[in-house]
Symmetry: C2
Protein backbone atom coordinates (compact mmCIF):
# COMPACT_ATOMS: atom_id res chain seq x y z
CA UNK A 1 0.00 0.00 0.00
CA UNK A 2 1.41 3.40 -0.94
CA UNK A 3 0.99 6.11 1.69
CA UNK A 4 1.16 9.84 0.97
CA UNK A 5 1.79 11.99 4.05
CA UNK A 6 2.08 15.69 4.74
CA UNK A 7 4.82 16.43 7.23
CA UNK A 8 5.95 19.50 9.09
CA UNK A 9 9.37 20.12 10.62
CA UNK A 10 11.28 22.77 12.49
CA UNK A 11 14.49 22.98 10.45
CA UNK A 12 16.72 24.53 13.06
CA UNK A 13 18.16 21.39 14.64
CA UNK A 14 18.32 19.46 11.36
CA UNK A 15 21.09 19.22 8.82
CA UNK A 16 18.46 19.50 6.10
CA UNK A 17 15.88 17.01 4.87
CA UNK A 18 17.98 14.45 3.05
CA UNK A 19 20.02 11.66 4.68
CA UNK A 20 23.67 12.67 5.20
CA UNK A 21 26.01 10.26 6.94
CA UNK A 22 26.73 11.35 10.52
CA UNK A 23 24.17 14.17 10.48
CA UNK A 24 20.70 14.51 11.94
CA UNK A 25 18.24 14.75 9.04
CA UNK A 26 14.46 14.66 8.68
CA UNK A 27 14.51 11.71 6.27
CA UNK A 28 16.60 9.72 8.70
CA UNK A 29 14.14 10.35 11.56
CA UNK A 30 11.21 9.33 9.34
CA UNK A 31 12.91 6.13 8.20
CA UNK A 32 13.87 5.25 11.78
CA UNK A 33 10.26 5.71 12.93
CA UNK A 34 8.97 3.56 10.06
CA UNK A 35 11.49 0.83 10.86
CA UNK A 36 10.32 0.73 14.47
CA UNK A 37 6.66 0.76 13.46
CA UNK A 38 7.20 -2.11 11.01
CA UNK A 39 9.34 -4.06 13.50
CA UNK A 40 11.91 -4.64 10.77
CA UNK A 41 15.64 -4.19 10.34
CA UNK A 42 15.27 -3.30 6.70
CA UNK A 43 15.14 0.29 5.53
CA UNK A 44 11.73 1.53 4.42
CA UNK A 45 12.66 4.24 1.93
CA UNK A 46 10.86 7.56 2.23
CA UNK A 47 10.58 9.66 -0.92
CA UNK A 48 9.96 13.40 -0.53
CA UNK A 49 8.90 16.09 -2.99
CA UNK A 50 12.51 17.29 -2.83
CA UNK A 51 15.19 18.09 -0.30
CA UNK A 52 15.24 21.20 1.85
CA UNK A 53 18.47 22.72 3.14
CA UNK A 54 19.87 22.87 6.62
CA UNK A 55 17.77 25.27 8.73
CA UNK A 56 14.85 25.45 6.28
CA UNK A 57 11.43 24.64 7.78
CA UNK A 58 8.46 22.80 6.33
CA UNK A 59 4.77 23.32 7.02
CA UNK A 60 3.61 21.06 4.19
CA UNK A 61 6.39 18.84 2.85
CA UNK A 62 4.98 15.74 1.13
CA UNK A 63 6.42 12.23 1.30
CA UNK A 64 5.44 8.75 0.16
CA UNK A 65 6.42 5.25 1.24
CA UNK A 66 5.12 1.71 0.76
CA UNK A 67 3.84 -0.29 3.69
CA UNK A 68 2.17 -3.68 4.18
CA UNK A 69 0.53 -2.45 7.41
CA UNK A 70 -3.24 -2.01 7.38
CA UNK A 71 -3.51 1.04 9.63
CA UNK A 72 -6.56 3.28 8.95
CA UNK A 73 -5.58 6.55 7.25
CA UNK A 74 -6.55 8.76 10.20
CA UNK A 75 -4.43 6.67 12.61
CA UNK A 76 -1.19 6.92 10.63
CA UNK A 77 -0.21 10.38 11.95
CA UNK A 78 -0.70 9.22 15.57
CA UNK A 79 1.28 6.02 14.98
CA UNK A 80 4.23 7.89 13.44
CA UNK A 81 4.14 10.96 15.70
CA UNK A 82 4.43 8.69 18.74
CA UNK A 83 7.78 7.49 17.34
CA UNK A 84 9.10 10.77 15.90
CA UNK A 85 11.07 13.44 17.79
CA UNK A 86 9.04 16.55 18.62
CA UNK A 87 10.47 18.66 15.79
CA UNK A 88 8.93 16.52 13.01
CA UNK A 89 5.22 15.77 12.77
CA UNK A 90 3.00 13.94 10.33
CA UNK A 91 -0.15 16.02 9.86
CA UNK A 92 -2.11 14.08 7.22
CA UNK A 93 -1.92 10.61 5.66
CA UNK A 94 -3.81 8.99 2.81
CA UNK A 95 -3.62 5.82 0.76
CA UNK A 96 -2.68 6.64 -2.83
CA UNK A 97 -2.37 4.86 -6.13
CA UNK A 98 0.93 3.04 -6.67
CA UNK A 99 1.62 5.45 -9.51
CA UNK A 100 1.83 8.38 -7.11
CA UNK A 101 5.36 9.69 -6.57
CA UNK A 102 6.03 12.50 -4.06
CA UNK A 103 8.65 14.05 -6.33
CA UNK A 104 7.65 13.23 -9.90
CA UNK A 105 3.89 13.73 -9.44
CA UNK A 106 4.35 17.21 -7.91
CA UNK A 107 2.97 19.96 -10.15
CA UNK A 108 3.76 23.08 -8.14
CA UNK A 109 5.43 24.07 -4.92
CA UNK A 110 4.71 26.94 -2.60
CA UNK A 111 7.39 28.45 -0.37
CA UNK A 112 7.02 31.30 2.11
CA UNK A 113 9.69 33.52 3.56
CA UNK A 114 9.10 35.25 6.90
CA UNK A 115 10.65 38.58 7.85
CA UNK A 116 10.49 40.19 11.29
CA UNK A 117 10.67 43.99 11.17
CA UNK A 118 10.92 44.94 14.86
CA UNK A 119 13.77 47.17 16.01
CA UNK A 120 15.28 44.64 18.40
CA UNK A 121 15.65 40.86 18.19
CA UNK A 122 12.44 38.92 18.82
CA UNK A 123 13.70 36.00 20.92
CA UNK A 124 10.71 33.84 19.94
CA UNK A 125 11.39 34.24 16.22
CA UNK A 126 15.17 33.96 16.18
CA UNK A 127 14.98 30.59 14.39
CA UNK A 128 11.73 31.28 12.51
CA UNK A 129 12.00 34.64 10.73
CA UNK A 130 14.79 36.79 9.31
CA UNK A 131 15.30 39.95 11.34
CA UNK A 132 15.29 42.98 9.03
CA UNK A 133 15.29 46.06 11.28
CA UNK A 134 16.06 48.53 8.47
CA UNK A 135 13.64 50.38 6.18
CA UNK A 136 12.42 48.66 3.03
CA UNK A 137 10.50 50.21 0.14
CA UNK A 138 7.80 47.59 -0.31
CA UNK A 139 6.46 49.25 -3.49
CA UNK A 140 9.85 48.80 -5.15
CA UNK A 141 10.08 45.19 -3.92
CA UNK A 142 6.66 44.40 -5.40
CA UNK A 143 7.56 46.07 -8.68
CA UNK A 144 10.78 44.06 -8.91
CA UNK A 145 8.96 40.82 -8.01
CA UNK A 146 6.73 41.14 -11.06
CA UNK A 147 9.78 40.77 -13.34
CA UNK A 148 10.35 37.31 -11.91
CA UNK A 149 6.83 36.00 -12.50
CA UNK A 150 6.56 33.85 -15.63
CA UNK A 151 8.84 31.37 -17.37
CA UNK A 152 12.51 32.34 -17.27
CA UNK A 153 15.98 30.90 -17.24
CA UNK A 154 16.86 31.28 -13.52
CA UNK A 155 20.62 30.62 -13.85
CA UNK A 156 21.36 33.92 -12.10
CA UNK A 157 19.05 32.94 -9.23
CA UNK A 158 20.58 29.62 -8.22
CA UNK A 159 23.84 28.56 -6.63
CA UNK A 160 26.62 28.52 -9.24
CA UNK A 161 27.40 24.86 -8.51
CA UNK A 162 23.82 23.73 -9.40
CA UNK A 163 24.27 20.60 -11.51
CA UNK A 164 20.86 20.40 -13.19
CA UNK A 165 21.17 21.48 -16.84
CA UNK A 166 17.77 22.95 -17.59
CA UNK A 167 17.42 26.09 -15.47
CA UNK A 168 14.14 27.23 -16.98
CA UNK A 169 11.38 27.38 -14.39
CA UNK A 170 7.97 29.00 -14.13
CA UNK A 171 7.02 31.27 -11.25
CA UNK A 172 3.22 31.39 -11.12
CA UNK A 173 2.78 33.71 -8.15
CA UNK A 174 5.12 35.96 -6.20
CA UNK A 175 3.48 38.16 -3.59
CA UNK A 176 4.72 40.21 -0.67
CA UNK A 177 2.38 41.10 2.15
CA UNK A 178 2.59 42.81 5.50
CA UNK A 179 2.07 40.68 8.60
CA UNK A 180 1.43 41.73 12.19
CA UNK A 181 5.12 42.40 12.82
CA UNK A 182 6.87 42.07 9.49
CA UNK A 183 6.60 40.82 5.95
CA UNK A 184 5.86 37.56 4.21
CA UNK A 185 6.91 36.56 0.72
CA UNK A 186 4.81 33.86 -0.96
CA UNK A 187 6.09 32.19 -4.10
CA UNK A 188 4.46 29.42 -6.15
CA UNK A 189 6.41 27.80 -8.96
CA UNK A 190 6.73 24.72 -11.14
CA UNK A 191 9.88 23.85 -9.23
CA UNK A 192 12.82 25.63 -7.69
CA UNK A 193 16.55 25.41 -8.29
CA UNK A 194 19.13 25.13 -5.51
CA UNK A 195 18.85 28.23 -3.25
CA UNK A 196 16.50 29.88 -5.76
CA UNK A 197 13.92 31.11 -3.23
CA UNK A 198 16.61 32.43 -0.89
CA UNK A 199 18.41 34.27 -3.73
CA UNK A 200 15.11 35.74 -4.96
CA UNK A 201 14.35 36.90 -1.39
CA UNK A 202 17.83 38.35 -0.85
CA UNK A 203 17.79 40.15 -4.19
CA UNK A 204 14.32 41.61 -3.59
CA UNK A 205 15.44 42.79 -0.14
CA UNK A 206 18.39 44.47 -1.90
CA UNK A 207 15.84 46.23 -4.12
CA UNK A 208 13.94 47.28 -0.98
CA UNK A 209 17.00 49.02 0.41
CA UNK A 210 17.73 50.73 -2.91
CA UNK A 211 20.83 48.74 -3.81
CA UNK A 212 19.12 47.60 -7.03
CA UNK A 213 16.21 49.09 -8.99
CA UNK A 214 13.20 46.97 -10.02
CA UNK A 215 14.33 47.07 -13.64
CA UNK A 216 17.70 45.57 -12.72
CA UNK A 217 15.90 42.22 -12.34
CA UNK A 218 15.57 41.89 -16.11
CA UNK A 219 19.29 42.45 -16.58
CA UNK A 220 20.02 39.88 -13.88
CA UNK A 221 17.87 37.26 -15.61
CA UNK A 222 19.51 38.03 -18.96
CA UNK A 223 23.03 37.74 -17.49
CA UNK A 224 22.57 34.02 -16.65
CA UNK A 225 25.26 34.40 -14.02
CA UNK A 226 24.84 34.02 -10.26
CA UNK A 227 27.08 37.04 -9.63
CA UNK A 228 24.56 39.30 -11.37
CA UNK A 229 21.85 38.79 -8.70
CA UNK A 230 21.78 39.85 -5.06
CA UNK A 231 22.60 38.03 -1.86
CA UNK A 232 21.18 34.76 -0.52
CA UNK A 233 18.74 35.36 2.35
CA UNK A 234 19.35 33.12 5.40
CA UNK A 235 17.74 29.68 5.64
CA UNK A 236 15.85 30.21 8.91
CA UNK A 237 13.19 32.48 7.38
CA UNK A 238 12.24 29.93 4.70
CA UNK A 239 9.32 27.47 4.81
CA UNK A 240 8.32 24.81 2.27
CA UNK A 241 4.63 25.62 2.64
CA UNK A 242 2.78 23.30 0.29
CA UNK A 243 3.35 20.81 -2.52
CA UNK A 244 0.57 20.76 -5.09
CA UNK A 245 -0.45 17.58 -6.96
CA UNK A 246 -3.07 17.06 -9.60
CA UNK A 247 -5.96 16.16 -7.34
Amino acid sequence: MRMKCTISYDGHLFYGYQVQPGQRTVQDELEKALKTLHKTKERIPVVSSGRTDSGVHAVGQTIHFDSPLSIPEAKWPYALNALLPDDVAVTTAEVVDDQFHARFSAKKKEYRYMIYKGRHLNVFKRHYAYHVPYELDLKMVEKAAQHLVGTHDFTSFCTAKTEVKDKVRTVYELEWSETEDGLQMRIVGSGFLYNMVRIITGTLLDVGTGKFSPDDIEKMLAAKNRDAAGRTAPAHGLYLWNVIYDN
Copy 2:
Protein backbone atom coordinates in the same frame (compact mmCIF):
# COMPACT_ATOMS: atom_id res chain seq x y z
CA MET B 1 22.11 56.31 37.38
CA ARG B 2 19.25 53.84 37.78
CA MET B 3 18.17 52.10 34.57
CA LYS B 4 14.79 50.44 34.08
CA CYS B 5 14.67 47.95 31.19
CA THR B 6 12.04 45.76 29.62
CA ILE B 7 13.40 42.38 28.68
CA SER B 8 12.11 39.43 26.74
CA TYR B 9 13.30 35.83 26.95
CA ASP B 10 12.59 32.43 25.52
CA GLY B 11 12.36 30.31 28.68
CA HIS B 12 12.98 26.93 27.13
CA LEU B 13 16.75 26.73 27.51
CA PHE B 14 16.81 28.52 30.88
CA TYR B 15 16.56 27.14 34.36
CA GLY B 16 14.27 30.03 35.22
CA TYR B 17 15.00 33.70 35.77
CA GLN B 18 16.83 33.72 39.08
CA VAL B 19 20.52 32.85 39.60
CA GLN B 20 20.98 29.20 40.60
CA PRO B 21 24.51 27.85 41.06
CA GLY B 22 25.53 25.65 38.14
CA GLN B 23 22.44 26.44 36.05
CA ARG B 24 21.86 28.70 33.07
CA THR B 25 19.55 31.52 34.18
CA VAL B 26 18.37 34.80 32.68
CA GLN B 27 19.65 36.88 35.60
CA ASP B 28 23.09 35.34 35.24
CA GLU B 29 23.23 36.18 31.51
CA LEU B 30 22.15 39.77 32.24
CA GLU B 31 24.74 40.22 34.99
CA LYS B 32 27.48 38.73 32.78
CA ALA B 33 26.61 41.14 29.95
CA LEU B 34 26.63 44.11 32.35
CA LYS B 35 29.99 43.06 33.76
CA THR B 36 31.49 42.96 30.26
CA LEU B 37 29.91 46.28 29.30
CA HIS B 38 31.25 47.95 32.48
CA LYS B 39 34.69 46.31 32.08
CA THR B 40 34.59 45.29 35.72
CA LYS B 41 35.09 42.14 37.74
CA GLU B 42 32.46 43.17 40.27
CA ARG B 43 28.93 41.94 40.06
CA ILE B 44 26.37 44.53 38.93
CA PRO B 45 23.21 43.27 40.59
CA VAL B 46 20.10 43.11 38.44
CA VAL B 47 16.75 43.32 40.23
CA SER B 48 13.67 41.95 38.46
CA SER B 49 9.95 42.33 39.13
CA GLY B 50 10.09 38.75 40.38
CA ARG B 51 11.40 35.35 39.34
CA THR B 52 9.88 33.19 36.64
CA ASP B 53 10.18 29.40 36.67
CA SER B 54 12.15 27.11 34.44
CA GLY B 55 10.57 27.06 30.96
CA VAL B 56 8.40 30.15 31.50
CA HIS B 57 8.81 32.88 28.88
CA ALA B 58 8.77 36.66 29.18
CA VAL B 59 7.62 39.26 26.69
CA GLY B 60 7.77 42.14 29.16
CA GLN B 61 9.76 41.31 32.28
CA THR B 62 11.09 44.45 33.98
CA ILE B 63 14.50 44.86 35.60
CA HIS B 64 16.53 47.65 37.15
CA PHE B 65 20.22 48.15 37.82
CA ASP B 66 22.55 51.03 38.68
CA SER B 67 25.25 52.13 36.30
CA PRO B 68 27.82 54.95 36.13
CA LEU B 69 27.87 54.74 32.31
CA SER B 70 26.41 57.65 30.37
CA ILE B 71 24.89 55.74 27.47
CA PRO B 72 21.85 57.42 25.85
CA GLU B 73 18.60 55.59 26.71
CA ALA B 74 17.93 54.46 23.12
CA LYS B 75 21.42 52.95 22.83
CA TRP B 76 21.19 50.76 25.93
CA PRO B 77 19.26 47.91 24.25
CA TYR B 78 21.81 47.74 21.42
CA ALA B 79 24.75 47.80 23.84
CA LEU B 80 23.32 44.96 25.94
CA ASN B 81 21.84 42.88 23.11
CA ALA B 82 25.27 42.76 21.46
CA LEU B 83 26.55 41.00 24.60
CA LEU B 84 23.54 38.82 25.39
CA PRO B 85 22.79 35.35 23.96
CA ASP B 86 20.04 35.30 21.34
CA ASP B 87 17.34 34.01 23.69
CA VAL B 88 17.33 37.14 25.89
CA ALA B 89 16.76 40.64 24.52
CA VAL B 90 16.45 44.09 26.04
CA THR B 91 13.60 45.86 24.25
CA THR B 92 13.36 49.21 26.07
CA ALA B 93 15.53 51.17 28.51
CA GLU B 94 14.94 54.37 30.45
CA VAL B 95 16.62 56.32 33.20
CA VAL B 96 14.48 56.29 36.34
CA ASP B 97 14.45 57.89 39.75
CA ASP B 98 16.65 56.17 42.36
CA GLN B 99 13.47 55.35 44.28
CA PHE B 100 12.26 53.06 41.49
CA HIS B 101 12.48 49.36 42.34
CA ALA B 102 11.56 46.72 39.74
CA ARG B 103 9.96 44.52 42.37
CA PHE B 104 8.60 46.83 45.08
CA SER B 105 7.33 49.56 42.74
CA ALA B 106 5.33 47.08 40.62
CA LYS B 107 1.57 47.62 40.92
CA LYS B 108 0.19 44.89 38.69
CA LYS B 109 1.43 42.05 36.54
CA GLU B 110 -0.04 40.58 33.41
CA TYR B 111 0.56 36.97 32.41
CA ARG B 112 -0.70 35.18 29.32
CA TYR B 113 -1.07 31.47 28.74
CA MET B 114 -1.06 30.11 25.17
CA ILE B 115 -2.90 26.97 24.11
CA TYR B 116 -2.61 25.27 20.73
CA LYS B 117 -5.77 23.38 19.72
CA GLY B 118 -4.70 21.58 16.52
CA ARG B 119 -5.17 17.82 16.27
CA HIS B 120 -1.47 17.02 15.83
CA LEU B 121 1.63 18.57 17.35
CA ASN B 122 2.64 21.94 15.89
CA VAL B 123 6.43 21.61 15.69
CA PHE B 124 6.86 25.40 15.71
CA LYS B 125 4.95 25.80 18.96
CA ARG B 126 6.25 22.83 20.90
CA HIS B 127 8.12 25.12 23.32
CA TYR B 128 5.69 28.05 23.08
CA ALA B 129 2.14 26.81 23.61
CA TYR B 130 0.48 23.95 25.48
CA HIS B 131 -1.01 21.40 23.08
CA VAL B 132 -4.64 20.70 24.03
CA PRO B 133 -6.10 18.57 21.21
CA TYR B 134 -9.26 17.63 23.12
CA GLU B 135 -12.60 19.47 23.26
CA LEU B 136 -13.07 22.27 25.79
CA ASP B 137 -16.28 24.02 26.74
CA LEU B 138 -15.12 27.63 26.62
CA LYS B 139 -18.40 28.95 28.05
CA MET B 140 -17.87 26.87 31.20
CA VAL B 141 -14.22 27.98 31.41
CA GLU B 142 -15.27 31.64 31.23
CA LYS B 143 -17.96 31.13 33.83
CA ALA B 144 -15.48 29.49 36.20
CA ALA B 145 -12.90 32.22 35.58
CA GLN B 146 -15.29 34.86 36.91
CA HIS B 147 -15.20 33.22 40.36
CA LEU B 148 -11.46 33.93 40.54
CA VAL B 149 -11.70 37.63 39.73
CA GLY B 150 -11.53 39.83 42.82
CA THR B 151 -9.65 39.66 46.11
CA HIS B 152 -9.34 36.13 47.50
CA ASP B 153 -7.13 33.92 49.60
CA PHE B 154 -5.40 31.89 46.88
CA THR B 155 -3.94 29.19 49.16
CA SER B 156 -5.61 26.48 47.05
CA PHE B 157 -4.07 27.96 43.91
CA CYS B 158 -0.40 27.96 44.85
CA THR B 159 2.19 25.25 45.45
CA ALA B 160 1.77 23.78 48.94
CA LYS B 161 5.38 24.64 49.85
CA THR B 162 4.83 28.39 49.21
CA GLU B 163 6.52 30.14 52.12
CA VAL B 164 4.92 33.58 51.92
CA LYS B 165 2.34 33.96 54.73
CA ASP B 166 -0.22 36.29 53.21
CA LYS B 167 -1.89 34.44 50.36
CA VAL B 168 -4.51 37.09 49.64
CA ARG B 169 -4.16 38.50 46.14
CA THR B 170 -6.37 40.48 43.78
CA VAL B 171 -7.13 39.29 40.26
CA TYR B 172 -8.26 42.36 38.29
CA GLU B 173 -8.86 40.71 34.93
CA LEU B 174 -9.10 37.12 33.76
CA GLU B 175 -10.13 36.64 30.15
CA TRP B 176 -10.07 33.74 27.71
CA SER B 177 -10.13 34.38 24.00
CA GLU B 178 -9.86 32.38 20.83
CA THR B 179 -6.76 32.83 18.70
CA GLU B 180 -6.09 31.75 15.13
CA ASP B 181 -5.25 28.21 16.19
CA GLY B 182 -6.08 27.95 19.86
CA LEU B 183 -6.84 29.86 23.02
CA GLN B 184 -5.21 32.53 25.09
CA MET B 185 -5.76 33.23 28.78
CA ARG B 186 -4.94 36.75 29.97
CA ILE B 187 -4.70 37.45 33.68
CA VAL B 188 -3.89 40.72 35.44
CA GLY B 189 -3.33 40.73 39.17
CA SER B 190 -1.76 42.58 42.07
CA GLY B 191 0.81 39.81 42.29
CA PHE B 192 0.92 36.06 41.91
CA LEU B 193 1.89 33.26 44.28
CA TYR B 194 4.19 30.40 43.33
CA ASN B 195 2.66 28.49 40.36
CA MET B 196 -0.59 30.43 40.78
CA VAL B 197 -1.15 31.21 37.08
CA ARG B 198 -0.33 27.64 36.05
CA ILE B 199 -2.70 26.16 38.67
CA ILE B 200 -5.46 28.57 37.63
CA THR B 201 -4.92 27.57 33.98
CA GLY B 202 -4.85 23.85 34.75
CA THR B 203 -7.96 24.06 36.93
CA LEU B 204 -9.87 26.05 34.31
CA LEU B 205 -8.87 23.50 31.66
CA ASP B 206 -10.25 20.83 34.00
CA VAL B 207 -13.51 22.81 34.04
CA GLY B 208 -13.41 22.91 30.24
CA THR B 209 -13.29 19.12 30.02
CA GLY B 210 -16.11 18.75 32.57
CA LYS B 211 -14.00 17.40 35.43
CA PHE B 212 -15.10 20.35 37.58
CA SER B 213 -18.11 22.66 37.32
CA PRO B 214 -17.73 26.45 37.36
CA ASP B 215 -19.23 26.60 40.85
CA ASP B 216 -16.58 24.23 42.18
CA ILE B 217 -14.15 27.17 42.04
CA GLU B 218 -15.80 28.78 45.07
CA LYS B 219 -15.40 25.57 47.06
CA MET B 220 -11.77 25.34 46.00
CA LEU B 221 -11.07 28.89 47.20
CA ALA B 222 -12.85 28.21 50.50
CA ALA B 223 -10.88 25.00 51.09
CA LYS B 224 -7.54 26.85 51.34
CA ASN B 225 -5.82 23.62 50.37
CA ARG B 226 -3.79 22.99 47.19
CA ASP B 227 -5.34 19.53 46.83
CA ALA B 228 -8.78 21.08 46.35
CA ALA B 229 -7.85 22.74 43.02
CA GLY B 230 -6.98 21.17 39.65
CA ARG B 231 -3.69 20.35 37.99
CA THR B 232 -0.75 22.65 37.22
CA ALA B 233 -0.57 23.50 33.51
CA PRO B 234 2.93 23.09 32.01
CA ALA B 235 5.44 25.96 32.09
CA HIS B 236 6.04 26.27 28.36
CA GLY B 237 2.65 27.89 27.61
CA LEU B 238 3.18 30.69 30.13
CA TYR B 239 4.43 34.23 29.41
CA LEU B 240 5.11 37.09 31.83
CA TRP B 241 3.56 39.65 29.49
CA ASN B 242 3.81 42.99 31.24
CA VAL B 243 4.67 44.57 34.59
CA ILE B 244 2.67 47.67 35.37
CA TYR B 245 4.10 50.57 37.42
CA ASP B 246 2.49 53.80 38.49
CA ASN B 247 3.49 55.94 35.54
